[in-house]
C-alpha cells in the first residue's frame, strides 16, 4: 500500500481553513448580533414574566378558573314557638339579551310566553328594548324555570333569587312587615332587623373542566353567611285570637280601624300586636296607606279615661287620698276658669275607688288639682308618655306630652282624664305594666327573651298598686263601666276610655273607644289593650265597643298560656247564667 503524502504535510489538529486570515470585525459582528438577539429574548421574557405577568396570568386563568358566588338566604322570622312567620324560598328570574332573543321563531315565542303566563304581545314588548339586558319575568317558580331552561331559548337566561313568603298573611302583616323584590326589608320587623336577617353571599374560585364540572378548588373560599333567624316574642296563637276578635269588634261596631296589643307582664314581651284594616303581605297590589299603618305603634290618640288610674295612683302614692276617701262629684259638673268639665252620667259623693269604677271626670279632676304640674308631668314622663317606646320598630311615635311649665290649670285637669295628651296604644299598654307588676314599668321587647327578663323601673309602691288593682277590678264588675270585659274563670281588671277625636284642633263628634286591662288580678300575667277608632254602631263607649274584644282576647290568651283560673267558681256560673260574656 502506497501512502501518498502531501508535499507540505500538516497535523490533524490544525485546520488549513482556520489559518485563513479573515477580517476580525466579521466574527465580532456576528458575535454581537447573536448577543443582541439573546438580549432581546431575555428582555422579552422579562417583559412577559415580570412586567406583563398579571395580565397574562389572568388571561390564562380565565381559560379554566371561575369565580362563583355562593348565595346566602335571608333569615327566617319565627314566633316564640318556632312557627314560621316569614321565610325565603329560592325562585328564578328570567332575563334576556333582547338582541339575541329576537331571533326566536314565532312558535318558540308563543311557547315561552305560555310558560311564563304572559301574552305574546307583552313578551314582544319586553324584547323590543334596546338595552342589552332586560328582565322578562321575576320570581318564577323553580319548576317553570327548569322547563324554560330545557327548551334552550336563544338569548334567554336565568338567575337565582329569593322570594319571601308569609304563611300567616294578613294576621301578622303589621308586625312582620315585608321585603321588596331585592330582599330588602321595607316595613316592620323585616326593616327593623334588616342587618341581622340579611345573608352575606360567599364566593369560591374553582377550576372547571371542559364539560363545566368543577374539578378543584383553588385559592381561598369565602363561606356564605346565611341571615340570622329572628325569634319574635309573638305567640301566633294569641296573635290569631287578638287579630280575629279585633276584626270582629271593628266590624260589629262599624268602626274605621282598630288595634290590639297583648303584653306578657312578667317579661315585657309583646305576645300579640294586631291592627285592622290590614293587608296580605304575599300579594301587595292595590295597597293603601290606611292598610299599611301599624296603628298600635305609629298612631297617637287621646286616650281618655284610661289615664285616670294613674292620677288616682299618684294621689294614693302622695298620701293625698286613701282608697275610701269620699269625693263629692255632684252635680256632675266642675268649672275651671272658663271651661266646664262634666261627667257622662251624674254622680253624687263617690269614694276614690268608685271614681275609677264609674269613671267620673269630676272626681278625677278634683284629685288632680291637688298636684303640682311638675309632679304630674314627672309621673307621665316616667311612665314613658312623650317618648318612643324604643322597640327598634320603624315609625315609632313619641306621643305628645307638653312641658309642665306651660300647663294651665284647665290643661292639668283635662290631662288627668286623658285629654290634651296623646299616646300610642303600645305606650298605653306598656304603662299598664306598672299595675300588673307591683309598680314597676317594664321595657318592651319585640323579640323572645332568652335569659332572665330585664328589671323594670319602679314608679309606684306595691301598696298603691294593690289598691289601684282593686279599683280596676271594680270597673269590670256590676256598677262599673265595663261589665262586658269580664272573663269567665278569671279575675280581671281594667279601665275603659271613651275619647273625642281631635280633628283640626277641634273635638269632633267622633270617638275612640278603648279598654286596657290586666289579668289574673291575684297574680297579673297579661296586659291587653284594645282600641276601636270611630265606632258608629249603637254605642261608642269603650266598655261596650272594646270591652267584649278585651274579654275574648284575654280569656283566650290566658287559656293558651295555661294560666290557672283564679276566680271562685260561682262567679263563672253567675256570668254564664247571664249568657255569653
Amino acid at each position: 500500500m502506497v501512502v501518498r503524502r502531501p508535499q507540505r504535510g500538516h497535523r490533524y489538529t490544525e485546520s488549513p481553513v482556520l489559518q485563513l486570515a479573515l477580517q476580525g470585525w466579521r466574527s465580532r459582528t456576528v458575535g454581537l448580533l447573536l448577543m443582541l438577539a439573546f438580549l432581546a429574548l431575555v428582555g422579552r421574557s422579562f417583559y412577559l414574566q415580570v412586567i406583563h405577568n398579571d395580565f397574562l396570568q389572568e388571561k390564562g386563568d380565565s381559560r379554566y378558573r371561575r369565580d362563583i358566588e355562593i348565595s346566602a338566604s335571608r333569615g327566617k322570622i319565627v314566633d316564640r314557638h318556632g312557627d314560621m312567620l316569614a321565610v325565603s324560598t329560592p325562585m328564578k328570574s328570567i332575563w334576556a339579551i333582547p338582541g339575541d332573543a329576537r331571533t326566536m321563531s314565532t312558535p318558540q315565542k308563543r311557547q315561552l310566553a305560555e310558560l311564563l303566563d304572559l301574552s305574546v304581545r307583552e313578551l314582544d314588548g319586553k324584547l323590543a328594548s334596546e338595552k342589552t339586558f332586560t328582565y322578562v319575568k321575576r320570581q318564577v317558580p323553580p319548576e317553570t324555570a327548569e322547563r324554560i331552561a330545557a327548551q334552550k331559548f336563544p338569548g334567554v337566561h336565568q338567575e337565582k333569587e329569593y322570594r319571601r313568603f308569609y304563611p300567616t298573611g294578613d294576621m301578622t302583616a303589621h308586625i312582620v312587615g315585608f321585603t321588596g323584590v331585592d330582599d330588602k326589608g321595607l316595613e316592620g320587623v323585616e326593616l327593623a332587623f334588616q342587618n341581622s336577617l340579611l345573608g352575606r353571599p360567599g364566593s369560591r374560585t374553582v377550576i372547571r373542566d371542559r364539560r363545566g364540572n368543577i374539578v378543584e378548588d383553588v385559592g381561598a373560599t369565602k363561606p356564605p353567611q346565611d341571615g340570622k333567624d329572628i325569634h319574635l316574642a309573638l305567640d301566633s296563637k294569641i296573635q290569631y285570637l287578638a287579630y280575629s276578635h279585633l276584626k270582629a269588634a271593628v266590624e260589629a261596631n262599624k268602626a274605621r280601624a282598630g288595634g290590639a296589643v297583648v303584653i306578657d307582664a312578667r317579661s315585657g314581651e309583646i305576645l300579640a300586636l294586631a291592627n285592622w284594616p290590614t293587608y296580605n303581605p304575599n300579594n301587595r297590589e292595590h295597597l293603601s296607606g290606611a292598610q299599611l299603618r301599624n296603628r298600635a305603634i305609629t298612631d297617637t290618640y287621646e286616650p281618655g279615661s284610661v289615664m285616670k288610674p294613674f292620677t288616682a295612683a299618684l294621689a294614693l302614692e302622695r298620701g293625698k287620698v286613701r282608697i275610701d276617701t269620699v269625693i263629692d262629684c255632684a252635680p256632675g259638673r266642675l268649672t275651671i276658669g272658663s271651661a266646664t268639665i262634666s261627667d257622662a252620667h251624674k254622680h253624687g259623693a263617690l269614694t276614690v275607688a268608685e271614681v275609677i269604677q264609674k269613671s267620673s271626670n269630676v272626681g278625677t279632676v278634683k284629685m288632680a288639682l291637688g298636684f303640682q304640674p311638675k309632679e304630674m308631668w314627672e309621673m307621665y314622663d316616667r311612665l314613658g308618655f312623650g317618648q318612643a317606646p324604643n322597640l327598634g320598630f320603624p315609625g315609632e311615635v313619641n306621643g305628645r306630652l307638653r312641658p309642665w311649665k306651660n300647663w294651665r290649670p284647665i290643661e292639668q285637669a283635662t290631662m288627668s282624664y286623658g285629654h290634651g295628651i296623646a299616646v300610642s296604644l303600645i305606650q298605653m299598654a306598656r304603662a299598664y305594666t306598672v299595675f300588673a307588676r307591683d309598680g314597676e314599668l317594664m321595657p318592651l321587647s319585640l323579640t323572645r327573651i332568652e335569659e332572665t327578663p330585664p328589671h323594670g323601673m319602679r314608679i309606684f309602691s306595691p301598696q298603691t298598686v294593690r289598691e289601684v288593682r282593686i279599683m280596676l277590678e271594680m270597673a269590670v264588675q256590676p256598677g262599673g263601666t265595663a261589665p262586658k270585659a269580664r272573663v269567665a274563670g278569671y279575675r280581671v281588671g281594667g279601665k275603659t276610655g271613651t275619647a273625642h277625636k281631635l280633628e283640626g284642633g277641634v273635638y269632633a263628634r267622633k270617638y275612640i273607644g278603648s279598654f286596657v286591662g290586666l289579668a289574673p288580678i291575684s297574680d297579673p300575667r297579661l296586659v291587653v289593650a284594645v282600641m276601636i277608632d270611630e265606632p258608629s254602631g249603637t254605642s261608642y263607649y269603650g266598655g261596650d265597643v272594646a270591652g267584649p274584644a278585651f274579654s275574648q282576647i284575654m280569656g283566650g290568651a290566658l287559656r293558651t298560656l295555661g294560666v290557672a283560673p283564679d276566680a271562685p267558681l260561682q262567679v263563672a256560673e253567675v256570668a254564664a247564667g247571664k249568657g255569653r260574656l
Binding site: 324560598t89 304563611p167 368543577i214 290569631y240 280575629s244 295555661g562 263563672a572 254564664a576 260574656l581
Partner: protein
C-alpha cells in the same frame, strides 16, 4: 453507576404516573363530593318549601274554619268548663 441512574429514572417515571393517577382520582372524588353537596343544597331548599307548605296548611284561621264548619266543633261556655287540676293546666299550655 449507570445501573443506579437507570433505576432512579424508573422510580421517577413510576412516581410521575402515580401523581397523574392520584390527581385524576382526586378530581373524580371532588366531583362526587360536589354533586352530593349540590344534592344537599337542593334537599335543603325542598325542606324549606315543605316547611312553608306545612305552615301554610296549619294557619290558625284555616284550622278554626275546619273545626267549626267541617267538624262542627264549638268552644265550651263557662258552664261546660270544669277545671280540676290547675297544676296540669299550667303544664298543658303547648
Amino acid at each position: 453507576m449507570l445501573r443506579f441512574n437507570m433505576m432512579l429514572l424508573l422510580v421517577l417515571v413510576v412516581c410521575a404516573l402515580a401523581v397523574v393517577t392520584s390527581q385524576h382520582r382526586g378530581r373524580k372524588l371532588f366531583q362526587a363530593l360536589e354533586q352530593e353537596q349540590e344534592r344537599a343544597r337542593q334537599l335543603d331548599v325542598e325542606y324549606g318549601q315543605l316547611q312553608l307548605e306545612m305552615s301554610t296548611w296549619a294557619t290558625h284561621p284555616r284550622i278554626e274554619q275546619i273545626a267549626r264548619d267541617r267538624l262542627h266543633m264549638v268552644a265550651p261556655d263557662a258552664l261546660g268548663r270544669v277545671v280540676r287540676a290547675p297544676a296540669e293546666v299550667r303544664k298543658g299550655g303547648r
